[in-house]
Symmetry: none
Subunit: 418 residues, 2 copies
């Protein structure tokens, strides 16, 4: 089955909203093993919509449309599809009944506009809308099928999950079982990573290997299509082993958990706590950690010592260090990590001091960053030389901190298959 997704709505073309439905539906299609080759967005205009539909029906056999099912004059998805297929619109008694109830419950009067939403294309399949008025519609010809879904994600997502997924699954051969595994890497760029496993990417068929870079992390999604779960898992293991034999040093975990989610998870498992002393990152490390549910179990807090006066008064960094070696130094990073650990009485302390830019600091250029990690027994420091914008340098500093901390703590990670 070759699918494509058409979103109807001028608000998308004006840049007022992002097409999150296309992302959601594509993800669902991937899970179903259905290939999606195109997304389109077109405005509330019958001629342009007809043209887009003609192109789509010539190249795809499953077309999912979103939006344009509302009550206003602008909403014309059903009308346009019906005209293209030479079919009539008819009232769906079930939907009419549901709408009557909806308005009665709310003590509101149903307008003629609203009643339009109870119309379906003759001979179509109706998907109930449990979170709004517009029902979804599926219509088949000998060459293709079109599924029309309401635009608001809070209506579309539950409708798709509950009614459209089983409808499509019923049409897909049961022979193939799809399974995937995500490997996560840090401290390596996408192009460098791709080059290292170039031959594996070239020769991939089943499992497939899909690299993706996002927020400074690179992931590889391995997807296998086969007859049984165990056989699939073995294929995934085999490819993973080949990949990790080359990229193991950059690997930090499986699945959808980010670096910071991994940190909170590991600290919880080991029953340990961490506090941060942040200069260059200005609270970014703490913000990322506390964004995660249950962070309070592992994170008592942080001191953001943006000024040198704060480093001195709140974390007792000596004048000697600040004057002789500077705030941007290995020694200061170590001192901050140790002192913040003691201040918060935590198991670990982590610190960030450096130059975010755009101006140099203490004669050091933007991108020079020192990080310290301290436990009761030992303290280490790291030097980074990052490039990029102020915000980029700050974000990557926080991530490197998370990565080095994870390396410090981690012995093993658990495999997660989807």
């Amino acid at each position: 089955m070759n699918a494509e997704i058409i979103a109807v709505g001028s608000e998308l073309l004006l840049g007022q909203i992002v097409n999150s439905n296309a992302k959601y539906l594509s993800e669902q299609m991937a899970h179903l093993g259905i290939n999606v080759y195109h997304h389109s967005v077109v405005g509330d205009n019958p001629d342009r919509l007809t043209d887009v539909l003609k192109v789509a029906t010539n190249r795809s056999n499953l077309i999912i449309m979103t939006g344009g099912l509302g009550p206003t004059k602008d909403d014309l998805t059903k009308e346009t599809v019906a005209a293209l297929l030479g079919k009539k619109l008819v009232y769906d008694p079930e939907t009419e009944k549901r709408m009557d109830m909806y308005f009665k419950q709310r003590n509101r009067i149903m307008t003629e506009n609203n009643r339009k939403q109870a119309m379906i294309i003759e001979g179509s399949h109706v998907f109930t809308n449990e979170h709004g008025l517009a029902c979804g519609i599926g219509i088949k010809t000998s060459e293709y099928q079109i599924i029309m879904l309401p635009g608001p994600p809070r209506e579309l997502i539950p409708m798709f999950n509950k009614f459209v997924t089983p409808y499509l699954k019923g049409q897909i051969s049961k022979v193939n079982h799809i399974q995937s595994r995500v490997l996560r890497f840090f401290d390596i760029g996408e192009s460098q990573l791709v080059e290292i496993i170039d031959d594996l990417l070239e020769s991939q068929t089943n499992p497939t290997i899909a690299p993706l870079a996002s927020g400074g992390e690179v992931t590889l999604r391995l997807t296998v299509m086969g007859e049984g779960e165990e056989k699939n898992r073995n294929s995934l293991d085999e490819v993973e082993e080949k990949i990790l034999s080359r990229l193991g040093e950059f690997f930090y975990g499986y699945g959808e958990d980010t670096l910071f989610e991994n940190i909170v998870k590991h600290l919880k498992e080991k029953n340990k706590t961490i506090a941060s002393a942040e200069s260059i990152t200005g609270g970014l490390f703490a913000t990322e950690v506390t964004a995660i549910n249950g962070a309070s179990l592992v994170f008592p807090g942080s001191i953001i010592c943006y000024s040198n006066a704060a480093k001195r008064s709140l974390l007792s960094v000596s004048n000697e260090i600040l004057n002789d070696e500077g705030a941007v130094s290995h020694t200061c990073a170590k001192e901050l990590a140790e002192k913040v650990r003691i201040n918060f009485q935590s198991d670990y302390g982590i610190s960030f001091t450096g130059v975010a830019g755009p101006d140099p600091l203490e004669g050091k250029p933007p991108g020079v960053v020192y990080m310290g990690i301290a436990s009761k027994d030992r303290t280490v420091s790291y030097e980074l030389k990052l490039a990029g914008s102020r915000q980029n340098i700050r974000e990557r500093s926080a991530k490197y901190g998370a990565y080095y901390l994870l390396q410090w703590m981690r012995k093993e990670t658990k495999k997660v298959d989807e």
Copy 2:
């Protein structure tokens, strides 16, 4: 000019990322007065991309492409466009020089794959990439023009702002002078705001009024098209006055400056400093403030007192307050704001304490937040009851803090027209 946007990348069709570039570019096109009639997404496949391009070049005269300019074999936007136009790819010496420098600075070796990124289509216009390797390319035929931009938003957005916007503005007829002004509002939802000025929105022609909600802030962009700058400014003033007579209490500034940028600007102007004590926000306020250039002049630091032990030991909140009124209380918020101000010897102190969820705290439900603002002379506290996810509650708390602080400091704001 009729525009359309084509995104190239299988990761979009797999639903791994959302097409935020299409939203951003559509918004920018709307500001430039250029109509966008279609968005498309197509995978890293030369045949399908060629087909999509053929459809596009038949119906639009400005085609903006995003993605597929990277170093891997999958990246084939330039190659496909060149083949369609019957043109050759050539090395751009400027881009080569920039790339050499990039790799030298990072002590990394440039691979052959990377060198591919220095290639452009013969006879094309080059848009410099100041945040990555792939340059942008603009190529014209007698019937249409194609602009190719890198996929990562952190590269695309600055490139578009700095280089593509003036390039397109130069092509738009100079007869009509477009001028716009953005009014910024907080503490009011988009639909409520729209309802209050419904009649103005209904009757708008020139200037137009475009509402936009983003990150909890609502903006109104007034755009006037006319013959002269002064006449335009008068029209904008007139509409603005009508709007602010109804919405003045929610208005906080002009232009693209966010709440936090406004705060840093105001503090700098008044030569004042602020420190934060953060529990629920976990460093988010500090992170937002320190994201802004020159924050070190106005922000000495913050204490993130996530645990009650930290509130006690680092900010001397008394056991009486924590036990009797609780950490989530007006009294605790005031105490935190006053103590952090003294700790950092700053002009203002601001504090955040509350329940981010998903679980209740001290018998209070998620969304209950107390904020304190302290100066030398007085301390106030605010209570918020927010709904939404953990991250949403945290973000809006930090924004309300910024908004109340701004109200405290602000007497007047300066008009900014674009």
